[in-house]
Point group: D2
Chain length 138, copies 4
């Protein structure tokens, strides 16, 4: 069991006129964490795009908001792999402040498809093995 953690800082570009993080950017923070995680397991998007064999489209996302954050606030995005299927996987993200308070949660569900016809394919071994290192039974 392992959690992949990504620390980031809320920037002006991430906020809106309500003075807080624009809601969709919580999911962008989750996705940035996912991209860094993919690089950590040697399946970075640059690698995936270059080899032109498969894609990993999102099929579902969700987010819950617990506490507003704003410019300059630091956030730890803690990601775990909560499901590994035949052709899909699920990532859960907990966003916490430096005081440990929950800011929100996200979930993203991904499938793997062949670049050639965009039909679902079994998770490539390189990806599955990386995911298993961060799998946590929910």
């Amino acid at each position: 069991m392992a959690t992949y953690t990504n620390r980031l800082t809320v920037r002006l570009q991430d906020t809106d006129a309500a003075g807080i993080l624009f809601f969709a950017n919580q999911l962008v923070f989750a996705h940035e964490t996912y991209e860094k995680f993919l690089e950590e397991i040697n399946c970075g998007l640059a690698h995936v795009f270059e080899q032109r064999s498969y894609h990993i489209p999102l099929v579902h996302v969700e987010a819950d908001y617990a506490k507003p954050v704003t410019v300059g606030d630091e956030i730890d995005v803690e990601m775990t792999v909560t499901n590994i299927g035949k052709t899909s996987f699920t990532l859960d993200y907990l966003l916490v402040g430096t005081d440990g308070a929950e800011i929100g949660r996200c979930r993203t569900v991904h499938v793997t498809v062949a670049e050639s016809d965009m039909k679902k394919i079994t998770l490539p071994t390189e990806l599955r093995e990386g995911l298993e290192r961060y799998y946590e039974s929910p």
Copy 2:
């Protein structure tokens, strides 16, 4: 029963290097539709921000992706109000192409809070009456 529809076009800024709409922007499209709907019922965010009495933060969002879209594609975002609670409401969005094919779905859940202490308050009458005009039993 009524549906509020917002037609928009996917722009370069909305896409990513996979050649399609960046996933979080489907939710931004939903939110733009929500903002136009609020103006339609005379509760636009400009009005809400100016009167400084209440806010309408999001507490939950989700999105499902059915079909990729790209630069220049036209989308109809069809919004209905699917729940009106004491202090919250739920909006469902269906995104369809000009050929009628489903592109995806979104859901956003909002609560109303007092500007003074950010505690939950009963939906203001102006907002509740507008929402009821677009309510559709799910």
Copy 3:
């Protein structure tokens, strides 16, 4: 001489925690206007991407800010073509409020390159003819 005008409304997603339009989004508004203009002259980006013959990368942009705008404000982006070179063209944009007050200005400079080797090419005829219809001597 002709001006291509695009009316748009500032949305929450376009603003930041200073309560106003996030600076880079003034240029995004200019680019959205450019994309609609390209469609108007039958050279839309969807068309350009599909025919895979040439690209129109930006080489320079600038923006000046005169008056802050915020959520719900309507803006007219008035675009003119101010230079048509052998392999490049320049677009100037004036952003004005519905009261006629200047909000800001943008300029974008584009070149045409071959898709095959990304080397500069003479402006394709379809594009040059469209640009000439909106050319205005500065």
Copy 4:
């Protein structure tokens, strides 16, 4: 003389369907660098927003594009202060790849205004002293 350097990685969210960094995001990268620089000199935006005494609006920005970058590419944004006026300052940014090749350049011009009436004010001492530490005669 000193340069403030910010290393960042291009993420999917930063790119567009042309497969490269969306042009406006080069300026967002510059602004992120500026925000980190402000924190370095103890004038972070969080601090500026909290003390409610002055604001630092942008009045002009520009960007030049030399070389396209895409998902996973690392960039060093090298910032210097190239002008310190009575009520304004100018920042220049050079973006270079890890191979040392120039990716592009940005410039941002800022003024200081009083929060009370948004009229121009002399650069606050805390800000001027920090800027002087990174000033480089152009």
